[in-house]
């Protein structure tokens, strides 16, 4: 649970006063809080930890890190949820 996964911001909107967006991780998307990365917008890549984007990274870096995590089999457990509906 302490891993952080890079993903691409697909959308951004205000919800209950918080800036949230859908972020794509490979074939999975998850709702993600974008309040900690005001500099990031739709199309940008961010590093996401427990549903919160914590830094913006470039695309090449994001893709490399994602492949590394995927090759270690760490993604499934990290995005596991009983409540997420996507």
């Amino acid at each position: 649970m302490c891993l952080a996964i890079p993903g691409k911001i697909l959308s951004s909107a205000l919800e209950n006063g918080i800036r949230v967006g859908r972020v794509q991780f490979g074939g999975i998307t998850r709702q993600t809080c974008l309040d900690f990365v005001p500099e990031a917008s739709v199309g940008d890549y961010v590093i996401v930890h427990v549903g919160f984007a914590i830094s913006r990274v470039d695309r090449a870096e994001a893709e490399r890190s994602y492949e590394a995590l995927e090759s270690m089999g760490l993604l499934k457990g990290e995005l596991e949820s009983d409540l997420e509906d996507s």
Partner: protein, 370 residues
């Protein structure tokens, strides 16, 4: 060098390993703090690529592993209440408590659910006002801002059925405790890249002034870790001790100010008991008085719960870098990820689980030879 072929750029990796061989003139003991880094080191066999004498030991940076037994027992006690929905991160369900684990509670009809984000717990509370929703929040500085945000939002919305059993831990006090121990062997640290993405690395300068030990903030890919190791060995060979940042792609000196702000708004520093290690002064975060109405420990009266840790598990020594998981007589036999004796075998970031995943076959083969 079979592992090197799997690297994104194996030529760079070979170059770093060769450079390490040239620079290292004597043995050095290095520790990575973060469990995610432990996993990469094991997966890519980095420890086996290093020149003889450079030893990697694995630190206490797995939040699931260091959550105290009594905190697990508190979560179980709360989860057993019929009016409660207890929500946590997936790894927490199989961490052994004194008698049972949260998965056992769930299997026996308790309402225990897994989320990947605290905002999902908040959403569940909004949609289920008749349930007392308790978020079991563990984590280091990386996770604490997200958990803080959930409480901050709950207060702002006036949610009455949401609370948090918080057991956050901080990295710098843990490093201080390790370095203060008379048994310490660690001479340089790979700093945790995502903790420092949030916090920056200013506070690590105090540790260096105090202990004269180099710290290099590192990333999570194999090349990141090889580079961080080279930077540490270079400093040690030159007799220097400063903070350096290898993971510049994500980490700045100041960290993420917005995440730090919500952290400071909701939490305050407290003393914390670490599983396997014991009490470390000012090493945790608790809810501030202004957020006491969201403190599950207070709401459900579990403040007095205490527990003694079983002696059979050597996780204390593993988490302090004094022993390797494979030094344990129960490793891979009486202790496996399916039936863990201790928390480092539970979490995918735990050192024992990483060794189990990547090293147990080698161990069996080695035994067969003899």
């Amino acid at each position: 060098m079979k592992y090197l072929d799997e690297y994104r750029d194996s030529n760079i990796a070979r170059g770093i390993v060769a450079e390490l061989g040239r620079r290292a003139t004597r043995p050095w003991v290095l520790m990575e703090i973060c469990g995610g880094q432990t996993h990469t080191l094991m997966r890519y066999g980095i420890d086996e690529l290093l020149p003889a004498g450079i030893e990697l030991v694995h630190g206490p940076g797995c939040p699931v592993c260091v959550t105290s037994l009594e905190t697990i027992d508190k979560a179980i006690e709360i989860a057993l209440r019929p009016d409660v929905t207890l929500i946590s991160y997936g790894d927490m369900l199989r961490v052994p408590g004194s008698r049972i684990d949260l998965f056992h509670v769930k299997a026996n009809g308790g309402d225990v659910r897994v989320v990947y984000s605290p905002t999902e717990a908040l959403k569940f509370a909004r949609m289920n006002p008749s349930r007392k929703v308790v978020f079991f929040a563990v984590g280091f500085e990386t996770t604490a801002p997200a958990n803080a945000m959930a409480v901050w939002q709950a207060k702002r919305e006036g949610l009455k059925n949401f609370s948090m059993l918080a057991s956050h831990v901080l990295v710098p006090p843990a490093i201080r405790a390790l370095l203060s121990s008379s048994r310490n062997r660690v001479q340089g640290f790979i700093g945790p890249g995502h903790v420092c993405t949030i916090m920056g690395y200013r506070e690590y300068e105090d540790l260096i002034r105090e202990f004269h030990v180099p710290i290099v903030v590192g990333g999570f890919e194999p090349l990141d870790l090889l580079e961080a190791i080279l930077m540490l060995v270079t400093q040690l060979e030159e007799g220097r001790a400063v903070v350096e940042n290898q993971y510049v792609r994500s980490v700045t000196y100041e960290g993420n100010p917005l995440a730090q702000k919500v952290l400071a708004e909701v939490f305050e520093v407290c003393d914390r008991k670490w599983r396997g290690i014991g009490g470390i002064p000012e090493s945790g975060l608790n809810l501030r008085q202004e957020y006491a109405e969201f403190d599950a420990d207070r709401i459900f009266g579990t403040e007095g719960v205490t527990a003694d840790e079983p002696a059979e598990c050597i996780s204390a020594e593993v988490l302090q870098g004094l022993k390797k998981p494979t030094d344990c007589s129960a490793f891979g036999t009486r202790c496996t990820p399916e039936n863990p004796l201790g928390a480092p075998m539970v979490s995918s970031e735990g050192a024992c689980a990483a060794y189990y995943q990547y090293r147990r076959h080698g161990m069996v083969a080695a035994k067969d030879i003899h």
